[in-house]
């Protein structure tokens, strides 16, 4: 079970990217890396050190878990460990996205006022 603080505290960029990558389904390490790259249009590149370090912390906080070990037919015949979101992980992602929406709403309102002020 995730700690209360984990679900409420702002997430680090690496954790947010990993949660986003796993939000559409379970993936193995390389799959998460590629999804993060795709989600960020190539702007965020995550190496194995950051990826697995973050995942260790996320597993400790109950945000993700190992789902299964199986073969990825697109890669090779080696068995791979897949990871998936837990309920707490999904909740933490929703909470973070809500936080972003609130910030964007505040920023939009402020810029709208600012542009009006400039207009006068």
């Amino acid at each position: 079970m995730a700690k209360k603080s984990t679900a409420q505290a702002p997430l680090t960029p690496a954790v947010l990217h990993i949660l986003l990558a796993l939000s559409t389904g379970e993936r193995h390490g390389y799959g998460i890396m590629k999804q993060v790259e795709a989600d960020s249009q190539g702007k965020a590149k995550m190496g194995p050190g950051t990826l697995y370090g973050s995942m260790a912390r996320m597993m400790g906080a109950g945000l993700i878990r190992e789902s299964d070990k199986r073969v990825d037919p697109e890669m090779d015949d080696e068995r791979r460990i897949y990871y998936e979101l837990t309920g707490a992980g999904r909740a933490a992602l929703q909470a973070e996205l809500q936080r972003y929406r609130s910030v964007v709403a505040v920023a939009k309102a402020r810029f709208a006022k600012g542009s009006l002020a400039h207009g006068h």
């Binding site: 390490g29 390389y30 190496g47 697995y52 080696e78 460990i81």
Partner: protein
């Protein structure tokens, strides 16, 4: 061809680099990290790109991770030791208070120190072993095995001192079976299940074959006590078996 040779070399070096991670982290993620590095090398090779730049970046990035994980591991270990030390101190209060209330309980400072070391060692053994697996049944199995082993060792120590019968030292063979079995099993759930069943069987065998030499009413109590120990070791074995089966799913 040259890229394949370089790829193999980089993979070998990367596997060596991964050995610098703390053991619990390496056991959990080392295989996945090595596989991810292989995938990245394959991707570069398929795109006919040179591996040197990729290897340099990944090696640097992983080295930063190694420093971070080791410092975290050390601080966690320090916290665990502090918690166990305080917990052991709290447990020590039981015999300390009891020695004040029970007549004839005359432990000297050395005896209290010895008991404290035993509490601390048992607590640290639990902290180190239980983190090997996330399954609740594994952690419960470790806890039950350690507490039962501790209680058996303790009661036998008292019994040997009271009866002055060195033949009872043979009961420590049960603990020896446990230590050797755990080392051979490398703390894997399946091997530990067999180890705990072997401990239960050894204890039952010794209790059945070795006369206690105690008066009949005491002998009956001791037999009941040993039966409880056998049951607890068996229960611990069953928990490890449950953890082993859960790990296979």
């Amino acid at each position: 061809m040259a890229t394949n040779v370089a790829g193999r070399r980089y993979r070998m070096w990367y596997a060596m680099l991964l050995r610098l991670y703390p053991r619990p982290f390496r056991e959990k993620f080392g295989e996945g990290m090595a596989q991810t590095f292989d995938d990245l090398c394959r991707e570069h090779r398929d795109a006919k790109r040179r591996l040197f730049g990729l290897a340099l970046w990944i090696f640097f990035e992983t080295s930063v991770g190694i420093v971070r994980e080791n410092s975290l591991h050390m601080s966690q270990l320090g916290k665990t030791m502090l918690r166990v030390a305080l917990g052991s101190l709290a447990l020590l209060m039981v015999p300390l208070v009891a020695s004040r209330l029970v007549a004839g309980w005359n432990w000297n400072a050395g005896a209290f120190l010895f008991v404290y070391v035993l509490f601390f060692a048992t607590g640290m053994a639990y902290a180190v072993i239980a983190r090997k697996m996330d399954a609740w049944s594994y952690k419960a199995g470790v806890g039950l095995a350690l507490v039962t082993g501790f209680a058996l060792g303790w009661s036998n120590m008292v019994h040997v001192a009271d009866s002055e019968n060195p033949a009872n030292l043979v009961y420590y063979g049960v603990l020896a079976v446990g230590v050797i079995g755990a080392l051979l099993a490398r703390l894997q759930a399946r091997g530990l299940a067999y180890t705990l069943f072997a401990m239960a069987a050894t204890l039952a065998l010794i209790a059945g074959m070795l006369p206690s030499g105690a008066p009949p009413h005491l002998a009956r109590n001791m037999a009941v006590g040993r039966a409880v120990f056998v049951a607890l070791f068996t229960a611990s074995g069953l928990m490890f078996r449950h953890a082993s089966l859960a790990g296979l799913k």
